[in-house]
């Protein structure tokens, strides 16, 4: 038993810190710190910097260009990038479809797609949910029919995050309508420039358009873009959803948000006294911090257990539930911290470089919108209720 990082792990940490200091653009860093809107280039430039350093695919095997970092090193990388205000890695390529292609894809798919995922030359998005298939994902209806050496795809996907930037989409499509619902689904890689694809933005309650509907109208997809075997897509999707274990709890991000919240609560005043010194507020902050400390150790425990060869089980679900609860609690307390300045909403203030006068303190502008936007994290990627079903099924076996 040792709660300390090894000297090697500590030296890796300083390596990461130095790298961030040298490679992260100041403009991007500033936007992330202040919670401002990010452009596609903010993500891509940072991901390319990580790629050049060899760290963009921390968990991929070396033969495919990955860094093959140990789980603890991956943890440190995530922790430090969040602390250093780097943008989050867009997970759809490197953390989601990449591992699926590595595990189940053809050699041609590996050769064609993996290098462009690594270099961030392809931006991927995820085509899983449909209007009628949310929690019950396996009831999806988008059809793919084999016609010679192409699939013809028809249907609709929804909640597609950042599809407006995407070059490629990985989709679950129904290829055998007669089979039991999980058994007639295939995993298809589709070029977003294919004729017949329409992307329509969905405005969310914070006024942003981060998610989209994607429509497929007789879209021709080369049969070679089918991953693995036909009608086995559900297995690959389950692999994909259970695969992510390092970042799913968002501990690094929560630690960064909590640091930011403490700064804000130090700046806010109640009759001249810093808000952070008010017992009622300070105790709520402390309670969240304690939960987060516990989650960090829990996450590290799970990671090292995985390193010792134990299967991860339901741990991803558990990390997702507790991690999103903590993230939401932080956004909620940040909202309380800014008091009446939660109300005015100057949308332009979310844009870096806007020259207008902020309303209230300069840190207030994105806080309420962030609180509303962050309600999504307990819904997407399998709602927390679905995650609880997964854990309950495993625990009770009933």
């Amino acid at each position: 038993m040792d709660i300390n990082y090894t000297p090697e792990e500590e030296s890796f940490r300083s390596e990461v810190r130095n790298f961030i200091r040298e490679s992260l653009k100041e403009e991007t860093r500033r936007k992330v710190e202040a919670g401002l809107r990010l452009e596609k280039s903010d993500y891509v430039d940072w991901q390319k910097a990580l790629f050049r350093r060899g760290w963009f695919a921390p968990s991929w095997p070396k033969e495919h260009g990955g860094a093959a970092l140990t789980p603890v090193q991956q943890w440190i990388l995530e922790d430090e990038t969040a602390r250093g205000h780097a943008p989050r890695t867009i997970p759809f390529g490197v953390n989601m479809v990449g591992p699926v292609i590595i595990a189940f894809g053809s050699d041609a798919q590996k050769k064609r797609f993996l290098p462009r995922i690594l270099s961030s030359d392809d931006w991927w998005c995820q085509g899983f949910s449909e209007p009628g298939a949310g929690s019950d994902l396996a009831s999806l209806k988008a059809r793919a029919v084999l016609d010679g050496d192409h699939f013809i795809v028809n249907g609709q996907k929804t909640w597609t995050t950042l599809a407006q930037y995407a070059d490629m989409i990985f989709c679950l499509v129904r290829t055998d309508p007669a089979a039991k619902k999980q058994e007639g689904i295939s995993f298809l890689l589709i070029d977003m420039k294919s004729p017949g694809i329409t992307v329509r933005p969905i405005y969310t309650m914070d006024g942003e358009a981060e998610i989209n509907e994607v429509f497929f109208d007789d879209v021709r997809v080369p049969a070679g873009n089918l991953v693995g075997q036909i009608n086995k897509g559900w297995d690959y999707a389950k692999f994909l959803l259970g695969h992510e274990r390092t970042g799913i709890a968002g501990v690094g991000t929560s630690k960064q948000l909590l640091r930011r919240l403490k700064q804000i609560a130090g700046a806010e005043r109640i009759d001249g006294r810093p808000l952070i010194e008010e017992a009622r507020f300070r105790d709520k902050l402390a309670a969240i911090e304690i939960e987060l400390m516990a989650l960090e150790v829990t996450n590290l425990r799970f990671l090292t257990a995985e390193r010792n060869g134990k299967s991860p089980g339901v741990e991803a679900s558990l990390l997702k539930i507790k991690g999103t609860e903590i993230q939401q609690a932080i956004t909620e307390l940040a909202l309380e911290a800014i008091g009446p300045y939660a109300l005015p909403f100057e949308r332009n203030a979310l844009q870096d470089g806007w020259n207008g006068e902020p309303i209230g303190p300069d840190y207030a502008a994105p806080i309420a919108a962030h609180y509303f936007n962050w309600r999504k994290v307990s819904i997407f990627g399998g709602s927390n209720e679905i995650q609880k079903n997964i854990i309950a099924k495993m625990m009770l076996g009933l």
Binding site: P340, A368, F380
Partner: protein, 384 residues
């Protein structure tokens, strides 16, 4: 003890409900919000015709002498429709301090046109540093040879950008957090030295930041007793707090209906999602929170004009704490039980959730009112 409505109250409730049902469909509301002023002048005229703009004022003031319970009935319906018009800002807040200042000449020049829908007012009290402390006023009004000169800043003034006249609180004596020494002044929107910066609020209403740079006003601009405005300000904010508690109940009711309907109709795994016991129990917890909120909004309304000020403060603060807790739980769970659809701007649930959240940050959040409730001067007074 009697919780039933009188016939007059039922009529009032029906007429406001009809107004909301007819004029406040979710899509129509969107068109009002798109106006540059953020609301509909036509609706304002209709509210005047319905007599609602004069409801809280006495007959001597030109109103119809409605009680806080009448106001509760009205605000609950406004919450159902997410009213955009400046009823809270103009009638309840500005009208409240105006009536409280008991100045008959002013009633003729300001209250009468307000009640008739010809004049919009706003109450400029909060300041960038004041947060929720009502006595925290740093804006000053200094005596000049010909009246007063006001300097300072006012923050998050509800509907301050559409008001024809602003009622501004300013310090005429005492230290920056003394209750004594605060006075009220009427300032025209075109006064030299006044800058009004309007913006949307995140829940679709309007607010303004005011800068007063040596604004010169005449001696008759002072409203009520010099240095003695605090009791009027506090009782008006308490009445307004009771009113937004009722508004919140209306908004919660709509979220409950919408969520319940969704649980019964949204099909997943071969049946309505409401078949899941976990979701059923969540919905029941929401219902319990809703009933608690309704009770406290009612209590606040019945205590809002209680002559025992400590008892009034205690009831209003207790209600605000309960409303904020219930509103947050119901709002968050309504979104969660819907899933992705409720995250969208197109769907109404998010708009109700946003309003409920912002009610939480208006006139003191739950922490502020917990502190006020448990403070020795109010804790001693037993609630009714």
């Amino acid at each position: 003890m009697d919780f039933t409505l009188s016939d007059e109250q039922r009529l009032l409730q029906d007429s406001v409900r009809r107004f909301i049902d007819n004029e406040y469909g979710f899509e129509r509301r969107r068109t009002y919000a798109a106006n540059s002023e953020g609301f509909s002048r036509e609706n304002w005229r209709k509210l005047a015709e319905l007599g609602l703009l004069g409801l809280p004022f006495s007959e001597a003031e030109g109103g119809s002498g409605g009680s806080p319970v009448d106001m509760m009935l009205v605000m609950e319906q406004f919450g159902r429709g997410l009213l955009l018009e400046p009823y809270l800002a103009s009638v309840i807040l500005a009208g409240g301090v105006l009536a409280g200042a008991a100045d008959e000449a002013r009633h003729r020049t300001l209250l009468t046109p307000l009640i008739e829908g010809r004049l919009l007012l706003a109450f400029a009290h909060g300041e960038p540093q004041s947060r929720y402390t009502l006595a925290n006023v740093e804006t000053t009004a200094r005596r000049t040879a010909h009246g007063f000169m006001i300097s300072g800043r006012k923050a998050v003034v509800l509907h301050g950008d559409t008001a024809d006249k602003l009622i501004v609180s300013a310090r005429t004596s005492g230290g920056p957090t003394d209750a004594r020494g605060i006075s009220l002044f009427v300032v025209d929107k075109n006064a030299a030295g006044l800058t009004v910066r309007g913006s949307q609020t995140i829940d679709g209403l309007r607010s303004a930041e005011l800068t007063l740079a040596d604004v010169d006003i005449g001696p008759d601009a002072c409203l009520g007793a010099l240095d003695g405005a605090f009791p009027t300000i506090e009782s008006t904010i308490d009445a307004a707090t009771a009113a937004i508690c009722a508004e919140a109940v209306g908004a919660m009711g709509m979220l409950m209906e919408t969520t319940l309907d969704y649980l019964k109709t949204r099909q997943q795994f071969g049946g309505p999602i409401g078949r899941n016991q976990a979701l059923q129990h969540r919905m029941v917890d929401m219902q319990i929170a809703f009933e608690q909120a309704k009770s406290m909004a009612l209590l606040a309304a019945m205590m809002a004009s209680n002559p025992d000020h400590a008892a009034r403060r205690r009831a209003v603060s207790a209600a605000k704490v309960q409303i904020d807790r219930s509103g947050r739980f119901i709002g968050q769970q309504a979104i969660q039980l819907h899933g992705g659809i409720a995250m969208t701007d197109e769907y109404k649930a998010g708009h109700y959730f946003k309003r409920l959240t912002m009610i939480g940050a208006t006139f003191g959040d739950a922490d502020h009112h917990l502190g006020r409730f448990s403070a020795p001067d109010t804790a001693d007074a037993e609630a009714a």
